[in-house]
């Protein structure tokens, strides 16, 4: 039971990563590798700030700002520098590695004995309920903000930019600006996720970003596979549910006797299987509604 509660808590916290990537990967149609650097950047910023006496809340906000700056850099490389999206993200991600080492001064910082968002007001909750509570609150707030944003004139122009840039431009939408704003919001959320995970784990590590893009994609794709055809707002909720399902799958795999060292291998296998489901569907001609959401991207 404890393990399942822990998995739900982890799923909620990590959902922010999936929600952030949803904006770029699904809506802007931009495969943003920056997140592999932004996630540990958020962690490094928050943890370093906290160990230097900054309040956990302010430290977390600093992590969001740091993430947004990373997104801005990738956005500028892509729009002004005309560097292909994948490479622009990889360049920023690689550069951030050094920045993270500069911020932390060493490759690992512990939060032992330091205040965090989890040992403040949430201190008296039973084990793992702190991450469930905080994760739930943050995910609900972020999801509501995203729904509202996408329902504004600005948000609609943002969606159109990803859907058909030629058309968006012909309607006077400044698509470059939209891409930059999207990358900033997305990476701000990833920075937030990194800050929360680091505080939950009790440390920041220089290598904690490895595999994060796969984890984010897994939440998105599992959500789509599990819930099929949905409206945009429902899809955002599905990302969070997908993130929780993914954690439960990992839990099950660990129970089978795999070790935590195998996690990246398992993550990749889970994602690969989910992404191949449409192929199986065609070959075997299964038409379960459960498979509807994973048609290859247009």
């Amino acid at each position: 039971m404890n393990l399942v509660v822990s998995a739900i808590g982890q799923g909620l916290l990590w959902a922010l990563l999936g929600l952030g990537l949803y904006l770029t990967f699904r809506i802007l149609d931009f495969c943003d590798m920056t997140v592999e650097g932004t996630f540990p950047l958020g962690a490094a910023t928050a943890v370093t700030a906290i160990t230097n006496g900054v309040s956990p809340l302010l430290a977390t906000l600093l992590a969001v700002v740091a993430g947004m700056i990373a997104g801005l850099i990738t956005g500028l490389l892509y729009t002004k520098g005309k560097i292909p999206s994948l490479l622009a993200g990889i360049l920023t991600m690689t550069a951030i590695y050094s920045v993270n080492l500069r911020i932390m001064g060493k490759s690992n910082i512990s939060l032992l004995g330091q205040p965090t968002l989890f040992n403040g007001a949430l201190r008296d909750l039973p084990q793992y309920f702190d991450s469930v509570t905080l994760g739930f609150i943050v995910v609900v707030i972020i999801t509501i903000l995203m729904v509202l944003f996408l329902d504004t004139d600005y948000g609609q122009a943002f969606i159109a930019t990803g859907d058909n840039p030629t058309m968006a431009k012909s309607l006077g939408i400044h698509t470059d600006k939209m891409v930059i704003v999207g990358l900033m919001i997305s990476n701000g959320m990833v920075g937030l996720c990194g800050a929360l995970i680091a505080q939950n784990n009790g440390y920041a590590d220089i290598n904690m970003g490895i595999g994060t893009i796969v984890i984010a994609l897994a939440s998105i794709i599992i959500g789509e596979v599990a819930f099929g055809e949905l409206t945009l707002n429902q899809r955002l909720v599905a990302v969070t549910l997908g993130s929780i399902i993914y954690r439960i799958i990992l839990l099950a795999v660990l129970q089978l006797g795999f070790s935590a060292n195998d996690l990246n291998l398992i993550s990749s296998i889970v994602l690969a299987i989910c992404m191949m489901i449409p192929q199986f569907e065609q070959r075997l001609n299964i038409k379960k509604p459960i498979l509807k959401g994973v048609r290859p991207h247009e």
Partner: protein, 254 residues
């Protein structure tokens, strides 16, 4: 004499600039477009028709010459900023609509063409009646698919929607780049009729590229023949009325 709404003065464009393959595509275009003009444009492949539209639309910069909108120099104005007075329908139905957004959502985007978009809630429901009525004017059942993602529409419906999107907020200049060429004959004719009706009724100023000489003669009050990057002929009014397909065809031979 009306003041021209758009004027091109000796507009030239180059490709492969600074290399041995440097070629001039538009070789000094001079054109005055008056309010209410409906100009059909014909010419061989490579004559520069699409380049002319790109230069007017702003996604290609003129290397020489000037473009004036109501007397104001817009030669260096960006493509996005020109959309405040200019709208465009492309040949490919896929280019004019956002596939994952619904018909109504696409139309809502078009109501703000060339305007700043703010963080205020969109007003989709309040506009639904108006959009449905507009869609019905296309006579192809588009009004019954208002909440369908445009990716699921037929090419004809999608292109009709592209046309609606371009004209929803009245443009000073409407560019139609062979916008019916990708459609079957019947659908194409239907859209051409709707296009003509809308342009005539609303006194829109429009330029239409076409490869069908009959269409070029039937529609519009002016006809321009582009050849080798230059305007070879410019027929207006009675002169255009007297023109025949045979006479027009002579411009394509040499």
């Amino acid at each position: 004499m009306n003041k021209p709404i758009l004027e091109l003065k000796n507009v030239q464009t180059l490709v492969n600039k600074g290399t041995a393959n440097e070629t001039m595509i538009l070789k000094g275009i001079n054109l005055q477009i008056n309010p209410g003009d409906f100009i059909t444009i014909v010419g061989t492949n490579g004559a520069g028709k699409s380049t002319l539209f790109n230069v007017i639309g702003g996604n290609l910069r003129a290397d020489n010459g000037q473009i004036l909108h109501n007397g104001k120099d817009i030669t260096r104005t960006s493509e996005e900023d020109r959309t405040s007075f200019l709208a465009r329908v492309f040949q490919d139905p896929k280019l004019g609509t956002a596939p994952r957004m619904t018909v109504a959502e696409n139309m809502l985007l078009a109501t703000k063409r060339g305007e700043h978009r703010h963080l205020v809630l969109r007003k989709l429901k309040q506009n639904m009646d108006r959009f449905t009525k507009l869609a019905a004017t296309m006579n192809n059942g588009l009004e019954n698919r208002m909440t369908t993602a445009t990716g699921a529409l037929s090419g004809g419906q999608r292109q009709a929607l592209s046309f609606l999107i371009a004209t929803l907020k009245r443009p000073d200049i409407l560019l139609l780049d062979e916008h019916t060429a990708a459609l079957d004959p019947h659908t194409s004719l239907n859209l051409l009729h709707a296009t003509n009706e809308r342009i005539t009724k609303d006194h829109l100023t429009a330029l239409m590229i076409t490869h069908h000489l009959e269409d070029a003669l039937t529609y519009g009050n002016r006809l321009i023949v582009l050849k080798d990057g230059q305007i070879k002929a410019d027929f207006a009014g009675a002169e255009k009325q007297a023109l025949t397909v045979d006479k027009l065809y002579q411009y394509f031979e040499d």
